[in-house]
């Protein structure tokens, strides 16, 4: 094969070629060993056939598993909405006064209890969790103390919520004498959510490139100024996602609430020390103690559907908020 000399000179940058005839690979290369070549070609063919089969098998298996998982999820969501949606979207039900024994009535105080409790939980857990995470990721020297704190948080995250419920009842309701009230529930839920808030925040802070910190310190910022002006704003998508998910968990949690807040209430709770009955606990109440009330199951189903909608909306809100912050930071367009 002959190649045009000029283009070859340009390509290689050589100008001092002695021979104008340039040979390229193919003419001059020594032939590879035909025997070995044949063996390699044959194994490549075999490998192709073998992997093609397994590739297809694995794809089918993974798809089916995904469908089963999604199917179960949609079945549960579908059932809850099917049974309760009609009731859940009636304003008279959402905001109405409950009836303990008579038929009818709404769940207004329970809705208020749920949001009130979630709000209190977040304002307790967020400063502590985010503060701890900032300390662990930005200030503390890596050592046995930080490892112990992380191990403690991880262990705490695996404790079942009912244990937290009993602990909260013993400590806040009885020992501190708060009684069954929103504050006792919020404090317990704060403990329950502290590990997750801490870890999600820490992950968000760790994901902030250290080059931002270097740039900031390089301009004469102190460590705290750097955290405040660069690191925290950059970690906001992650932190808000954690916060909104905490609200979701606080609204959806039942075991803790049953032990520390209450399961039925006829009026709207006013102060953090008022007894209350968040929706999740109230559903449990109708299912277990609703025998006196003829439509207890219908109320419970409606409440379940409403609770599901609220949690779904919160999850959507978490995504929207994260995206909003990312846009503002310019990390996504």
């Amino acid at each position: 094969m002959r190649v045009d000399v000029e283009t070859d000179n340009i390509a290689t940058g050589r100008t001092d070629m002695e021979s104008p005839q340039v040979e390229i690979a193919g003419d001059t290369c020594e032939a590879v060993d035909a025997g070995i070549n044949g063996i390699i070609k044959e194994s490549i063919e075999k490998h192709k056939r073998r992997t093609a089969f397994w590739d297809r098998a694995a794809t089918i298996a993974i798809w089916s598993l995904a469908f089963i998982g999604m199917g179960i999820l949609f079945f549960i969501i579908g059932t809850i909405l099917w049974r309760g949606l009609a009731m859940a979207i009636q304003p008279g039900f959402i905001f109405g006064k409950p009836e303990a024994i008579k038929e009818g009535g709404g769940i207004g105080p329970m809705v208020v209890s749920s949001f009130y409790l979630a709000f209190l939980t977040v304002i307790i857990v967020l400063p502590i969790g985010v503060g701890a995470a900032i300390y662990m990721s930005e200030f503390a020297k890596e050592g046995w103390a930080t490892r112990a704190a992380r191990f403690g948080a991880d262990s705490l995250a695996t404790v079942p919520s009912v244990i937290f419920g009993i602990f909260g009842m013993v400590l806040f309701v009885i020992y501190f004498g708060l009684g069954w009230c929103l504050l006792a529930g919020a404090l317990t839920l704060a403990l329950l959510n502290l590990p997750t808030v801490m870890r999600t925040t820490e992950e968000a802070l760790k994901a902030v490139p250290s080059s931002y910190r270097e740039a900031s310190m390089g301009l004469g910022a102190t460590r705290w100024e750097t955290v405040k002006r660069v690191v925290l704003p950059s970690a906001m998508p992650g932190i808000t996602t954690g916060a909104v998910l905490t609200i979701g968990r606080a609204i959806g949690e039942s075991a803790v609430v049953i032990f520390t807040v209450g399961i039925f209430i006829g009026w709207i709770p006013r102060t953090p020390l008022s007894p209350a009955a968040p929706m999740a606990a109230n559903i449990w109440h109708w299912y277990t103690e609703g025998a006196l009330k003829a439509d207890a199951m219908a109320i419970a189903n409606g409440e379940a559907a409403l609770l599901l909608l609220v949690v779904l909306l919160l999850n959507v809100a978490a995504r929207v908020l994260a995206r909003f912050y990312q846009k503002r930071l310019g990390t996504v367009r």
């Binding site: 020297k141 080059s211 270097e214 740039a215 900031s216 310190m217 301009l219 002006r229 704003p233 310019g330």
Partner: protein, 260 residues
Amino acid sequence: MSENNLKLKFRELDLYYGDFKALEDIDLDIKSCAITAIIGPSGCGKSSALRCLNRMNDLVEGARVKGEVILDGENIYDKNYNVVELRKRVGMVFQKPNPFPKTIYDNVAYGPRLFGIKNKEVLEGIVEDSLKRAALWDEVKEKLKSSALSLSGGQQQRLCIARVLAVQPEVILLDEPCSALDPIATQRIEDLLSELKNTYTIVIVTHNMQQAARLSDYTAFFMIEEQGDPGKIVEFGETDAVFTRPEDERTERYITGRFG
């Protein structure tokens, strides 16, 4: 080189990361309003040496120094020396452009705001002036409120230089500022640095020998004997002399591309 136009001096500096000795016996004079290049093979401690000049090594756990770095007659490693003040006077531009995920305007205004400047007109003046001096103004004046991350790599690096200029430093340290940039963006940064050296003392670490030769007035060649040994200065002098008639054989072998 007369003693009184020396901006920065290394004096018998050793740098340790834990037990590892990264630099040994560094003595180096850096002249004001000139560009000093630090060259040498990978791992020879040239970036570490640069980071001693604004004490960025303080951020590395286990890092400690022996010896002195003198800035305008004062040892910056003195116990009472104000590091925040030091970093304002000695700005740094990093290997990879690292603008904050903020607007172009907020990036440049970051330093001045840090020092408490809140007046909008003053800030706007500083931002415009810094961007002009970094030769970026014409490209971004219409979109100061867009994210800095929307700029190209070369523009981002000039933005980082503008961000440093906005705090009115005396010295600018550059740690391989062009290694992530294409030749045209590199050219622009080099033109900019040649411009800036009339006003600032510039120290640049570079892997690119041609860049050191083109750009700098003085060159220091760092080397390590063997893996695990500390980095040392093999040769230091005017760039022309170092590149045309190096005194040390190792310098010659390095700059002619025979190792490293």
